[in-house]
């Protein structure tokens, strides 16, 4: 009897050891279901070739359900080992609740600038909990054939920008600007946070708001709203009911000349548009001014604090932080740019154009995303509404700035008068 027990125990121990040695399976939680093929066919095979003992599976959830579903799974202990992180508070809350592990000392994190890590670090920057994966860059994508046909050049300054729009409007064969206000968020994302950094000098203005030394009612924050108000003259008829997908279609069908964009559009536009496209960064006030671009930290990846395979998960994160991943990812998903300092060649011409602005211009992130949208009323939601209101002409830029400032001052101590 005793012998039987011993044998069983030995077998059990052996099989456990064997299971450990054969393969550890890690699963990745993400909201990017459209990236399934890229993970399955490009990224994960490259990792598994190097680490045959670790098997990784990419299991996305629909974007609108991701936050709620992930929270439920983390609370219930059934979440995946690796968690794709939303920037700022969405992930910070998970870290504070102990769901995300601290990875401040992870090998490879030194490849990233601190502005990139800020999206997934505590407010003081002392603890980091996700590896930065990618950013998206704002600018304008234009129909190069339309520009050639009308003899137009990429505008450098704001006045040149409006001169180009006037010329397109006068010609009449294209809608000058492909944007609508029906879904509201484009006014904030492709409008205000796209052109704004040139006025508030990128990080200087953004950090000024956080420290309380700048206000939304200051001229550098009101000016971009005034410029935005002028856009409505160049948007399509009935733009008030034009949705995001309407704008995308309007542009890719060749019926509009300029699309206020985020670089995430590149993959889709390459597939849909039958004409050659170009891109230019947000125009500056006077020729020769320093340009600022919104190079927004959008995706990171961290590990579940409760994972059963912390070593394997760490190994995977180290690989994500490596130059190899940076190059693979940026080229597999043109328009999502690795935040790593590593240098490599970007194959897609449009993506290369966007990325080249990092050399010429100063980078910043969207103004409302760090700390400033933590309270109620929410600054980012306010920006959606007032941005659309300014374009629709139902609110003056000054009123819009007042709304933003009053909303922020209500709950954010450094902004209280």
């Amino acid at each position: 009897m005793k012998r039987l027990l011993m044998t069983t125990a030995a077998y059990a121990a052996l099989s456990l050891a064997a299971a450990g040695a054969v393969a550890q399976t890690l699963t990745i939680e993400s909201w990017r279901s459209e990236d399934q093929a890229i993970w399955d066919e490009v990224l994960l095979p490259a990792f598994e070739a190097k680490h045959p003992d670790i098997n990784v599976e990419f299991k996305p959830t629909a974007p609108t359900e991701y936050n709620a579903a992930l929270n439920a799974r983390l609370d219930g202990g059934t979440a995946g080992d690796l968690i794709v992180c939303r920037p700022f508070d969405g992930s910070l809350v998970l870290y504070q609740k102990g769901h995300l592990a601290e990875i401040t000392d992870l090998a490879g994190l030194e490849n990233f600038p601190s502005v990139a890590k800020a999206a997934w670090s505590t407010d003081d920057g002392a603890e980091t909990f996700c590896v930065p994966m990618a950013s998206v860059i704002h600018g304008f994508i234009y129909n190069r054939e339309a520009f050639e046909e009308l003899g137009l050049k990429e505008p450098q300054t704001v006045e040149e920008f409006f001169a180009v729009l006037d010329a397109i409007k006068e010609d009449g064969s294209y809608t000058p600007l492909a944007m609508g206000t029906a879904d509201q968020w484009e006014s904030a994302t492709m409008g205000y946070t796209n052109i704004g950094p040139n006025y508030w000098k990128g990080e200087e203005g953004r950090l000024g708001l956080i420290e309380g030394t700048a206000k939304f009612t200051d001229p550098e924050f009101v000016k971009p709203l005034e410029v935005l108000a002028r856009w409505s003259d160049y948007m399509g008829r009935g733009y008030q009911a034009q949705s995001y997908s309407d704008s995308q279609n309007l542009f890719t069908l060749g019926r509009a000349a300029i699309y206020p964009a985020g670089s995430w559009e590149i993959t889709g536009f390459n597939k849909q548009a039958f004409f050659e496209m170009g891109a230019f960064p947000p125009p500056v006030e006077a020729a020769g001014d320093t340009c600022y671009i919104s190079d927004h930290t959008d995706i990171g990846i961290g590990m579940n604090a409760a994972t059963e395979h912390p070593e394997a998960a760490r190994t995977f994160l180290e690989w994500v932080a490596s130059p190899e991943f940076a190059e693979l990812y940026t080229n597999a998903l043109p328009g999502f740019f690795s935040l790593s300092n590593a240098t490599f060649e970007v194959k897609d011409p449009l993506a290369r154009e966007f990325l080249s602005w990092r050399e010429q211009c100063e980078s910043t992130i969207r103004v409302a995303h760090q700390i400033l949208s933590r309270g109620e009323p929410n600054t980012w939601n306010n920006l959606w509404t007032v941005g659309a209101n300014v374009i629709n002409g139902v609110m003056t830029p000054e009123e819009a700035a007042r709304t933003l400032q009053d909303g922020l001052a209500k709950w954010y101590a450094p902004q209280k008068d």
């Binding site: 809350v93 009935g238 995303h369 659309a388």
Partner: protein, 321 residues
């Protein structure tokens, strides 16, 4: 004597046992419904009311604050503005349904009941949209009304009214009414069916008698049929009331988004509840504030239904037919 005593005692015991058994089967039959209703309806409702009395702390725990959340919702200027705006938009939605959907449903039902042989196809066609997903309905109507690819402008142009075309869904002045009318288009089949069922249940003898008495077709409808279906119209009204506070959410969310664009002109209690509870973009979800909005919604519906039951339902005359 003893004999009689035992005689009368036995049936009494038997009666008691029968009575107890009689009670038991009521419990057995009620149990499944009560159990399911309690688990899936009463308990969540009570839990949601309980949640609304707490406030969340940063470490995830909650602290009891009594009616603090209600005070915030009703008296904090930012919350109160959103709340009353959503509430009044709901009332507009209710009003449009009461003056458009229900009379239209009554009219269609009356017409269908006159021609049961040819009405079948129309009855089905008019009812079909209620079975469609709101996402599909929203998408179809967005396309029809789209300033870029919609047929609305072309159709108006065909009758020389192209000048009347506006991007209705995008204008603050018209967005809410437009969404309401889309909802009317989708759901007009439900009052139609309920009223139709009531109309065809009216015995032919009553109609024949009215005819013999010399009433015209319209007078028969007005003086005989309508009084007989009043209780159904009451039910339709109360269903419309409840539906406007609960079911209006999905259509508005799918067409106008969680912020009730443009400029909160289509924001209703449902969208306010959704973004408060689950969050919206950078706004993190707040279960306690969300539960407060949900509880207010519950009270609003409760008050409406109570008023209806107390003042209207009891006065409605029911006729045995």
């Amino acid at each position: 004597m003893t004999q009689t005593a035992t005689d009368s005692a036995a049936p009494a015991a038997l009666r008691r046992r029968r009575k107890r058994a009689g009670r038991l089967h009521i419990v057995v039959f009620l149990a499944p419904a009560v159990l399911i209703y309690t688990i899936f309806s009463v308990y969540p409702l009570a839990e949601s009311l309980r949640l609304s009395l707490y406030d969340g702390l940063e470490d995830g725990s909650a602290v009891w604050i009594g009616l603090g959340n209600y005070a915030t919702l009703l008296f904090d200027p930012d919350w109160a503005r959103q709340f009353w705006n959503a509430f009044s938009n709901n009332l507009v939605l209710f009003f449009v349904h009461m003056v458009v959907q229900n009379p239209l449903g009554l009219l269609l039902a009356a017409l269908l009941s006159l021609a049961p042989r040819f009405g079948g196809a129309y009855r089905t066609l008019i009812f079909v949209p209620t079975l469609l997903s709101v996402v599909i309905v929203g998408f179809i109507w967005e396309l029809i009304l789209s300033p870029l690819w919609g047929v609305a402008e072309t159709l108006l142009g065909a009758v020389g009214l192209a000048g009347l075309y506006q991007p209705w869904l995008g204008l603050e002045s018209s967005a809410l009414v437009t969404v309401s009318l889309i909802s009317v288009w989708q759901y007009v089949g439900i009052p139609m069916m309920l009223i139709y069922a009531a109309l065809i249940a009216i015995p032919d003898e009553l109609i024949d008698a009215a005819r013999v008495d010399g009433l015209s077709g319209f007078a028969i409808f007005w003086k005989v049929k309508l009084p007989l279906i009043l209780p159904t119209l009451g039910i339709v009204a109360i269903l419309t009331y409840i539906g406007n506070f609960t079911a209006s959410f999905d259509l508005i969310y799918s067409i106008q988004g969680a912020l009730g664009a443009p400029n909160f002109s289509t924001d209703v209690m449902g969208t306010l509840l959704f973004r408060t509870f689950f969050g919206q973009q950078l706004q993190l979800g707040d279960v306690h504030m969300g539960a407060t909005v949900a509880s207010m919604l519950f009270f609003i519906i409760l008050v409406g239904v109570t008023i209806y039951l107390a003042l209207v339902q009891r006065r409605l005359q029911r006729y045995e037919m």
